[in-house]
Symmetry: C2
Amino acid sequence: MTPASTTSGQLEQILSGLGSPTDEEVATLDAWWRACNYLTIGQIYLKDNALLKRPLTRDDIKPRLLGHWGTSPGLSFIYAHVSRLITLTGQQTIYLTGPGHGGPALVAAGWLEGTYSEIYPDVSQDEAGIHRLFRQFSAPGGIPSHVSVTTPGSIHEGGELGYVLVHAFGSVMDNPDLLSIAVVGDGEAETGPLEGSWKGISFINPARDGAVLPILHLNDAKIGGPTVLGRKDPDEVRSLLTGHGYRVIEVTGDDLPGMHHRFAAALADAFADINAIQQSARSNHWSGERPHWPMIVLRSPKGWTGPATVDGVKVTGTFRSHQVPLSGVRENPEHLQLLEEWLRSYRPEELFDTHGRPVESIAAAHPEGDLRMSASPHANGGLLTHSLALPDFREFAMEVDRPGAELAESTRRWGELLAEVYRRMGDNFRLFCPDETNSNRLGAVFEVSDRAFMERVGPDDVQISADGRVMEVLSEHNCHGWLEGYTLTGRHGLFATYEAFAMVSASQTVQHGKWLEEAGRLSWRAKIPSLNVLLTSTCWRNDHNGFSHQGPGLIQTMLTHRGEVVRIYLPPDANCLLSVGDHCLRSKSYVNLIVIDKQPQPQWLDIDSAIAHCARGAGVWPWAGNENPDRDPDIVLACAGDVVTMETVAAAQILNERLPDFRVRVVNVVDLMTLPRPKDHPHGMSETYFRELFTDRAHVIFSFHGFPGAIHQLVHGRPDADRFHVRGFIEQGTTTTPFDMTVRNQASRFHLVMDALNNSTRTPAGATELLAWCRSKIAEHNDYVVENLEDLPEIRDWVSQRNGQHPEE
Amino acid sequence: MTPASTTSGQLEQILSGLGSPTDEEVATLDAWWRACNYLTIGQIYLKDNALLKRPLTRDDIKPRLLGHWGTSPGLSFIYAHVSRLITLTGQQTIYLTGPGHGGPALVAAGWLEGTYSEIYPDVSQDEAGIHRLFRQFSAPGGIPSHVSVTTPGSIHEGGELGYVLVHAFGSVMDNPDLLSIAVVGDGEAETGPLEGSWKGISFINPARDGAVLPILHLNDAKIGGPTVLGRKDPDEVRSLLTGHGYRVIEVTGDDLPGMHHRFAAALADAFADINAIQQSARSNHWSGERPHWPMIVLRSPKGWTGPATVDGVKVTGTFRSHQVPLSGVRENPEHLQLLEEWLRSYRPEELFDTHGRPVESIAAAHPEGDLRMSASPHANGGLLTHSLALPDFREFAMEVDRPGAELAESTRRWGELLAEVYRRMGDNFRLFCPDETNSNRLGAVFEVSDRAFMERVGPDDVQISADGRVMEVLSEHNCHGWLEGYTLTGRHGLFATYEAFAMVSASQTVQHGKWLEEAGRLSWRAKIPSLNVLLTSTCWRNDHNGFSHQGPGLIQTMLTHRGEVVRIYLPPDANCLLSVGDHCLRSKSYVNLIVIDKQPQPQWLDIDSAIAHCARGAGVWPWAGNENPDRDPDIVLACAGDVVTMETVAAAQILNERLPDFRVRVVNVVDLMTLPRPKDHPHGMSETYFRELFTDRAHVIFSFHGFPGAIHQLVHGRPDADRFHVRGFIEQGTTTTPFDMTVRNQASRFHLVMDALNNSTRTPAGATELLAWCRSKIAEHNDYVVENLEDLPEIRDWVSQRNGQHPEE
């Protein structure tokens, strides 16, 4: 949206100028574009002679030619025109590059805008800087080939394809003054996540959100052949995008300067439309209907302005220009000659002065200061981040008089806290969830905010409107990606989803983690709000949905992140969830995973104990075992996760009651990353504390929420790790009862008791009888399941009720 | 396609009848549908009084009400009509249920068709059987609530949403006589993978593939609210689907019998169109253009025929009927009354005789034998599986005179073998790959088969045509899902992809693994060809692409599968790849993961040694170490993966040359699942062999291709697992040189030598000097990287060349 001070008459004039550039303006645009293309090719090919002050020789060429030329000229063509739009209108804009392997084009743009040298003084705006610019590209110790974290102005690498639109839509939510240009490559457009993300406009409210301008760049080919959208009948492409809800503006060709004129007109048309949509929505006369937002389809040749043919074969306009169109430059003098001609075709002498500085007209052809897309604070969102004004989470605490005495839905408390966050900072926080907010017991947020929805709402609908800010769409990809875009531009959020289906977006979790890992190494990148993921319909309690809904695999995936970004919490009850959740919402630049089920579950700790327990991350629960200060326990029962904690406490109770002399310690782990060694994770507990909890040599029956292998790998390297015997989810499930899930996975209280007795170094009197009793209980259960379908009662969960003992006691 | 014996005159008559059912036919259709709905509701609610022979009481109701009513009546409505189509035309047809939580509807259909009782005799076609049918649903020891593996006629659970079209398209590839009906729910239609899968028709050749008929079932709501497509302007929906390339046929309403007439007409229209398309394509006059395949948009109310309002609130037609529309039946007599009225509205007395058998007209209303959709052998694809006529893989072997003497691209050999498979069994095998077949060095297949593509092909395109059978689309979701559908219906295939981006489809790998795990428990499910996944652009050699392309996470995900389905191979060279690959292509009902890079790499074993080595899965490489038969080694250098094997052999060579008295054993692991204990995986090596390889107490420096945690978890429980020190990918990467990747991840030969010396129980003379030398080599490398950007040569990989020793020697 243009600055408020602009009158409508001024705006009309600006838009008219924007759409009809003078010949002089086109010449400037074209010169800037040529400079950008020149610098792009230089990055791919040259290690010397950057300004072509002498004829090109073999020795000027890098020994290893890396990079992607094909998409680059299209990217910089669009960039040049958007820069002009910004200059004329003052519009705050960021640029998201779907075809991220066009990295050198964006690096070149940042350098031309001066931002690159401001951030990386070594890469100065002169001949030495150009040399450095060229040499560092795709080189050891240099910069990656994609539009990566190191690229100023980027919030989107474009490495793993499919997410440019989700990032763009996330970036404009509650960001009313931002325009996000999202270039979608036709290769990327073949992916599922991208195709599923066009529908972002069904959730964007022009009154309070910014705008996304998608530019579908059809250049017909990917690495090895044509693309579906590139080769489809253009009528079908138009129909498809119209069906997604857009007004399609098309620009096709390779003629110059014709393309400049036509693209400028298209961009002005789109911008005028966006302005009109926003002004209408922000006036009092808005119908509330979803606008038909504009988008542009740009059809230009792959490798545009590159060598038309090489060795008699057509290159430009085909898949052959995808990467390095002239690949034999060092060996083949003809190729070398072609390269020189190609570079000189941009007339570098007109673009750079003898010192290698961009000539004045080019230096003046970009917006100033923060309006440069490479310098936009929106693309360094930590600069714009306001901390959440969080309520005191203690106010949402459960009363817990004694451990395990009462059942409650822990996430409901957390939902009430989130509702308060919405109340206080509704435009700085959003919850993203695939259609399960109520199901996940977070529905309290609907007291403050509806679901967002820009399509038709009917009389039977509830808690849904254009004004809503709770984001529900049945797409983990959209939810996850929107949240990424939202946090990358500086706001806070939470992605809540079914545990099993968190694997749908696991690759996004991986890629965002990689982004954060790399961002942490760059001092100029301000820290951004963490990506918070809440898994709250978990494997143990998807007993009603069955096996496909039972899978704690995201924990495994999270463990592959570097320690500096990954945090995994398994709060056993509501008060621990509140403590952990508060910490996550305040944290920055982590990927926080919180796993806790939504079903009624025993509550263990009062709020003060919970806070102390979560601060340590892991601790002994003396009230659950029978600690003896003078002697080590015979066995340690450890647990991480809600259901397994219940089974562990129950197992300890059985042991305490039936074999009172058998010394049992119960350890609960909230922060999973306390388990590895400090050198493997910053949360890793000291060896001293590890020995304090788990002793030096007692065997540990570890009951884990997820796959047992996670614990095996986390304790590897700890003293005598072999003594850890892990129970967990072993991929056994179906539609059944909650207790049957624990039996199927050999993690029931009875299994844990047997494990304790079978692994203790001391065999207490009565062990044989208790083992037999446990076996009989399991057999009884199994018989029950097989034989007694008729009654079908729920098998009651036997919740430990300790005799009024308080954790503090 | 209708049977070849049908004349066109007969066909016209059949189609005309199909589209214009008589009143009597509609009555039969409706009765069948009512019976199916009745049985659906019974499964959700009743544990007794199944035929309503007496008034319903509280005790007849299940204590826990599970299941999803909302989508079910629409699913059975379509099913009834398709059954009639099959009866009239003899068309081989399977039914894929996108909204898989409508499980009870499909179970009911299978029971009405008699298939259910044939497979599960306990669930007989009589009153006792109905009782069993009702009680087993969503009950412990019973059946899951989804269209799961236990449901006859299903190849698609529909639990994790998004894959119904990919499965359907895969099922018809090289399956010319099959029609796959794919019901897409409007919830599922919001997912990325589904939206990205409409484009399947751009790859289906009507001349040699079967047909998919998508039925987009818009019932307007998902669990908590409206859907995007349900609420979009119908013009936009039509435009969207037209843009995807379909001819859209729409049926809307809830009036009866009007809906029967209109849907029958729509189905006849679609079927006639499919027939015409196939007949034209299979004649000599086909233009080769992609057809505008028909599809149906069915708009019917959610929970159609259910209670209109409950407690004064509208239920049918809203999200409230998604699961159990009457939830208080046991507590609320009014709800109980409503349920009884609802059940009686289907007039069960007209549908079942007093013995609970379907009345004759209903029993006759379905196709016979294998034509019943619940009995189609296409949905039990193992019945139709023909083993691949594989060439002798030895013929593709590399000559290896001595280990490590030559570099070769291992996957190129494998590609040549695959080309031969295409040559021999082109309609029984397909390669699926996101645009990387050539890049992955598998391009030999193009000598036999083009890429499949039904869109426009131009003069500059190569190796691409409508007749091609190599499947390239830039979508891991499509590739993976097509292969699943292809193998589930009995044919063989391979999914080859970049290692990092295998995470994009990881959740599909998980869900297919779950399917296979469950199928293995059902004797009536014939084993199907394995899902083969080849990762061949791996983390260590994505040095040219950078960090986002570097991630071996799929191994971690695979390790969560049950041992009975998961197989993971890391062949270190071409001959091992051939041996392993041959085994995978012959295997059934596994998920086989093969990880090997495509770049030139040292070749270690001749073919006979490779076969022997792969058969063992893991073994000592005596030629690489300095084995002494009389004494245990001082250190074991173990490795799994190609690049890490090269570094390990090089480290052993350094040790051998510089400290000849230091006894080094080299162990290579090809089959990763030999590492766990036999009780944890069927391939797990015996403890005896484990001790033989790794000794009782020598420390093991294990250099692993993937994340170190994988090895930690695999060796947990092995004798003295603490002595395993694992190097692997530790999430360090960028665009750099191959060798630098090993240094960044502390897994270079120099690191391994240092690890060996630092962890050996014996410190040999010269250790201090060698440690210092290693440190200097690493420092030298790092300085080189930082300082020497100018020259940028590739750091040469120092490949071990042993003095002519042969593995056999």
